[in-house]
Amino acid sequence: MATTSVPAPPAAGPTGGRDRPARRLRLLTRQDRVVLALMLGVPAILVLGIVWLPALGTVLLSFTNWNGIGPVSEIEFIGARNYTDVVTTYPPFDTAIRNNILFLVVLFLVATPLGMFMAVLLDRELRGTTFYRSALYIPVVLSLALVGFIWQLIYSRDQGLLNAVLGLQGPDAIAWYGDPNVNIWAILVASSWRHVGYIMLLYLAGLRGVDPSLKEAAAVDGAGQARTFFSVVFPVLRPVNIVVLVITVIEALRAFDIAWVVNKGRNGLELLGTLVASNLIGEASLVGFGSAIATLLLAVSTVFIVIYLVTILRGEEQR
């Protein structure tokens, strides 16, 4: 395929492949190389300094019993005791793992598809599209304190909107926040409410980039709305789909905010994120213990990151 007239074809002959890239490098001026070094180096330093060094620090601290007070030189290493403690003497941890998995499942199976569905609906030029889009996106913009307040008004057992609408009063009233078997679902609804708007916006942006002639061609060929979406639009949007998938996983793992404003992630609302915060933040921070939980969270996240990268890279190779 590639002819010799093309200056630097990626798929060059097996023999010419060795010296050609080298010659190309030499074509770069000194200035080019400085610019390249800066453009790669600065982000690399930032990522190292802001993300990986603190992450490494967290891992190190998880082997200590530091309480956040006093010089770093006095930190005492206690081996893996924090980890055994997390698993054996800290009952909220099991609940947190279960809740994070629940978050992943619900966001993946319900909230994300719903957000994509909303995007597909709003992508068509309906009257009042802007209004619907804004309405769905507003939860993402609202401040955390306000979101907590809104849901407190809805879920309050004695004075809440939901129990009033359902006609549940007195002893029949459901403690949406208080019952540890119920409140995680209440939080999932609240979190999905935000997640749907987020995914919708992302996906809408993706849909705008689809060449309309594709859909027209599909329609001419007699494909219905559903068929057009699943056979044409969805495959075309593969990169956006991957972004959406990754965001869903990330949101599920770092789920934190609404559970934290409700009751600091206690009483059935334990999440890995809230456990890290409640052990690290506060008057007498259990830095070592909290770091152990954070490290476990990091490990779980890394598994997903690796799966994601492997999929992406394999996908690129197949092109």
Binding site: N67, I69, G70, I78, R81, T89, Y90, P91, P92, R133, S134, Y137, V141, L142, S143, L144, L146, V147, Q152, S156, R157, D158, Q159, A173, A175, W176, Y177, G178, D179, L201, A205, R208, G209, V210, D211, S213, L214, A217, A218, V220, D221, A223, S231, V232, V236, R238, P239, V240, N263, K264, R266, N267, E270, S278, I281, G282, E283, A284, S285, F289
Partner: protein, 445 residues
Amino acid sequence: MPIRRSAPRALSLPRRSLHLPSTVSRRTVLRGAAGAGALSAMGGLAACGGDSGAGSGSITLGSRSGDEAPRQAEDAAIAAFTEQSGIEVEANVSDNETFQESINSYLQGDPDDVFTWFAGFRARFFDDQGLIGDLSDVWEDIGGGYSDAFRDASSNGDKQIVVPVSNYPWAIFYRRSVFEENGWDIPETLDDFVALCEEVQGAGLTPVALGDQDGWPAMGTFDILNMRINGYDFHIELMAGEREWDSPEVGAVFEQWAELLPFHQEDPNGRTWQEAAQSLLNRESAMYLLGLFVGEQFPEEERGDLDFFAFPEIDPAIGAGDLDAPIDGYMMPASPANEEGAKEFLRFMGSAEAQDILIEASPNSIAAHNDADTSGYTELQNKAVEIIANATGIAQFLDRDTRPDFASTVVIPTFQAFLNNPDDIDTILSDLQAGKERIFTGGES
């Protein structure tokens, strides 16, 4: 197939479509940065501890009195101090919770010359880390105005570290009119109390209000039961980690609590303390174990109807004289920028005059000073003075009497689990004990 053929050509499109921002702005969709709201809520944490004014004529104050009434009270006291001494006070105010959560980094960073805090274990904890200034010389001047109970709560060993300004009792609050209408009497013993609760239920009210969504209100119930059943000394030793949480004594407290729980509002973990107070105000609940600040939830014209009594006696050998009466006050960091000015301010706040100003503007507590002017006190405040003066033992409240990390990461989750399922006391006790062993032995430095 045409569909097939068009697909590969289109594969290049989505790459471009990944430039989301441009697409977004072109479509004029709402622009707000996702998650910015979440961050701004946390942003306040780091924002304490402003620069110290340094000049000999001014000091800075780190205050957690962010609510309106306490803010006005503190401002009035500061104005009086500046007028008297000529020292300017710059108050850096945060809301209560933010201030408490960031106290650790606040004290290690660049703290103000003086700051608001609590007496008791919760003050000693930071002194033991070397973060607190010695106020013994201030106490030589102001000490005569305080009872021994206040001196003890403000001391770490032989040195004083807190200047107390106010405190308030925890007791059972009720509406006088409700009790009068129904002909109910104040219970003296546990049997009276149980009989009263049954009578209240018969009248169609909930006997005792309880809202533990925030985790700390149920600590008050534990404290008072433990002091009534096992006595003040046991309670304080348990808090200090010198007693075991899986002991039969603590087990007895939970058994008693489980017996009384059916008289409380259902689903306490799903109710804030304010909502529970509303049920007392609306005559849906007859009683409510809380601090004097419950009055904040009552409109001005209803406050006269609010009254309280001490939690009834359980063991005659122990009596009913112990209670929680948390002390609020001011402290100085280990090395303030203006130590002289700070101590001047603390001497002033430790005077009856300053505390009169504070209490007048914010009447949900009582002054700590012996000579404070009580003539303007409400009936409720006078009663609070009396119950504290007659107390046989004064505790500061669970989260002030024990390690804060133990209180927030172990006690709150297990107490909430107990309220959900009061039958499984053994698990509750072993969880508490495991947490106590982990934190009290592991955290020593």
